[in-house]
Symmetry: C2
Subunit: 472 residues, 2 copies
């Protein structure tokens, strides 16, 4: 057990001012103290170094003084890893002044960037080089790559391109003792030791600070197409997934399941005038194919549609005829979380399941939730990855606050059943401070023990993002 941490008090900040340029010291504005769901309000002294060496100097000082460090990227995380509420006042280490694309090797399909680069800017830089950076998610206009890697973010393209982990070849990291690991490799194969990269990815800043990343770029698909299909039920959606993959292989780049409730919410909150398919189906799938030159995306979508209709999986559907129409369909998908936010959930979850258990999970979870009352469930997400966002809401017209007392009960139902079925209580959002209890409750105890050993061996003083991932 490390010693108690010390406050980043005035004397310590004065000491830092001797080490770092004045421009590194930012006001502790709401940007740095709040998080998207408004659950926590953090505290801390905001320092934004401009270089990796400055990050190292800052961390060395914090380690020497036993002051906690909370790394801060775009602040879009949904599990509170970026805000520290309890304990000693930390340094909030903002990456917002390290935003450069350091180099692009277009012919290799590699881009090297500072950890503070915003995802949308990286996507643009890649496109300007004739390539695609495939990571894509709702918060891409704000989220920074260091945070996206630290949470192993998912998003809309995981089915084809993998999570953030799969988009990363190498890292530059400042360790909890303020040393710099120069691991920005452009190599696709390198078996020369333990896989440090994958320890830091997904570690939520608890083992060090990612300051730079070597990222994989992918070829831009020559032709793309999207279709919105009404499916009988989640089992039919899974069969459709399999069928679509048989037809286009890796060319299937997105496969999202959406429930009727998400559309009800968008209409109820004025986010949507009328649904594209009417009557509104109980379940819809939005899928995208991206194919190489010489292929015909519309033809591929037609074949999927026809085969799925003949198999009785699909009752209705439309194939986007223009890029604008396709973009509108995907924008609709991306609006579902905003509808959820406006309605206000009792509890939100980000679970994953073995693919073959999803069709069992959805009705069984609904049955168990129904035992608590006539709650509304919006279950949607990245079906191809086995990843469901499973959000539970008060009955229409009722105040969600009245249901606060059952929030934990709801989450226990959702998580217990997922884990019972071989699933996970956190698919892509991570642990942060919100799910530290779940880590202890659901994780294999041997894994938990090894996680604690890694933490202790990397960060003996426990300064890095204290209380995130593992209780400090």
């Amino acid at each position: 057990m490390p010693d108690r941490l010390n406050d980043a008090d005035q004397a310590f900040v004065d000491h830092l001012r001797g080490l770092l340029p004045a421009a590194a010291f930012l006001d502790a504005s709401d940007t740095f103290l709040t998080e998207p769901r408004g659950r926590y309000r953090g505290k801390g002294v905001v320092v934004a170094p401009a270089t990796t060496d400055e990050v190292a100097a800052l961390i060395r000082a914090c380690n020497a003084a036993r002051v906690g460090v909370v790394p801060h990227g775009g602040g879009t995380g949904l599990v509170g890893a970026q805000v520290l509420v309890e304990g000693a006042v930390p340094i909030i280490l903002s990456l917002s002044r390290m935003t450069r694309v350091r180099a692009i090797y277009a012919e290799e399909g590699v881009m090297i960037a500072d950890a503070g680069a915003v995802l949308a800017d990286l996507q643009t830089a890649a496109l300007n080089a004739g390539k695609m950076f495939a990571l894509s998610l709702g918060s891409e206009g704000t989220a920074r790559i260091g945070g996206l890697l630290s949470t192993n973010a998912g998003g809309l393209n995981v089915l084809r391109y993998g999570t953030a982990r799969a988009q990363c070849l190498g890292l530059e990291v400042v360790t909890p003792e303020g040393e710099i690991w120069h691991g920005l490799t452009r190599l696709h194969k390198d078996n020369t030791g333990y896989d440090l990269r994958d320890i830091f990815i997904g570690a939520e800043g608890t083992l060090g600070v990612i300051t730079g990343a070597a990222l994989k770029l992918s070829p831009i698909p020559a032709v793309e197409g999207s279709a919105l299909l009404a499916v009988t039920d989640p089992a039919a959606a899974l069969s459709l997934l399999s069928l679509a993959r048989d037809i286009v292989g890796e060319g299937l780049s997105g496969f999202e399941l959406m429930s009727r409730v998400g559309f009800d919410f968008m209409m109820e909150t004025g986010l949507m005038a009328a649904p594209p398919l009417q009557p509104l189906p109980d379940w819809q799938v939005l899928l995208r194919v991206g194919l190489s030159a010489g292929s015909d995306a519309d033809d591929a979508l037609e074949r999927i549609f026809t085969a799925a209709s003949e198999a009785g999986l699909v009752q209705d559907g439309l194939i986007a005829t223009t890029t604008d129409e396709a973009n509108r369909l995907w924008a609709m998908r991306e609006t579902i979380p905003e509808g959820n936010r406006l309605i206000g959930s009792i509890a939100s979850h980000d679970i994953s399941l073995p693919l073959s258990r999803i069709a069992d999970y959805i009705p069984e979870a609904a049955r168990r939730i129904a035992a608590l009352g006539p709650l509304r469930i919006n279950c949607f997400g990245h079906l191809g990855d086995g990843n469901l966002h499973y959000n539970v809401f008060a009955p229409k017209g009722e105040d969600r606050k009245a249901y606060d007392p059952i929030r934990k009960q709801v989450s226990a139902i959702v998580h217990d059943l997922a884990v019972e079925m071989g699933g996970s209580f956190s698919a892509e959002h991570g642990v942060g401070r919100l799910k530290v209890g779940e880590v202890e409750q659901y994780n294999d105890p041997v894994r938990l023990n090894l996680m604690r050993r890694i933490k202790a061996s990397f960060d003996p003083n426990g300064i890095m993002n204290p209380g995130a991932m593992l209780r400090s």
Copy 2:
């Protein structure tokens, strides 16, 4: 620094006989004491548990008695990780009695297998379930999946499907203290803690023993085709790679560069009567496409051939017209190492480079090697992965033994230049005991320090595969 290890002496073996069934004790035959290149002869007492619980009991006993454990899969590794020559007599923990496929979830694309299952058997099991297990390499008839994961093996399909790491969803591992981590997840997304899986993959048995794995299965490409193309030089091969990817995207599943020397060797040793393309080109590429239903592989290969010829990259070539012909081309590629073995190298290397440096590396390395004498170089390999097997031979008619004194000099030239150019001294073969010195010489010191901390925290007594990966 852990205490010195103790010998697995008769008293200890007697103790083990009280813990494990008699069938677990095997003769220490050559299978367990030798390695493919005949560089080392190991020692040890061979114990082959039949279950994970037996592995755990064995490791607990070894840890309590401070006896080293050398895990042994198929014994095909090329860096000596499977043979211990110096120090106390270890237990050789053979996985050869744990060979079951535990379950196949065809609809999910997941197979769960014991660590001792032979790769070729796993490939067959997957095919029988209508899927493909994509890991494929020369030793697949002998290599076992636990060893393949422990070395993060590569092979012929990495370009499309990734290394062994990318084929694995989850692991079951016995820790150095004899605890079992039950991590056989079938999930594609699971952000609930540090990534233990990727720490054990590639750790060469130094952090624990992999006893089971959840493996990804891929769809079988509906149509396949292969072509052998004569290219101007390595730079042209790289341009051809880019061009082929533009045409078939992820459908490009193999891309091998072969030098003239490899063909000379196969003919010189009687392994090949005549080369498929004549006159024999200096450089050839063997490529494979695998496409989904409705695609035409021959047409895709024709388009690649035509475009590459028009661009002046390719001078000659053939497209295999039957599966047999394609198989013969790939068998030819797989015979190159046997030609090397029969000729006998002074030094062999398994390097990787950033793709854009390969065309500079090959002539510059040849220039540096030429300064040592008229040595022969066979440079071939997985070009799409930036991975070259770079083997150096005595001049024709001379005894390689006469060149033993310059072996280290040769390797230093090959490795120094690779590292200078941002490459690696071990792309897919790993470190084992052969390259422990290179790990210390070439690795980032911060990485090396963190590797040592991981080792110490997982294996405080230093019993697991002592002397492999890191000096014990």
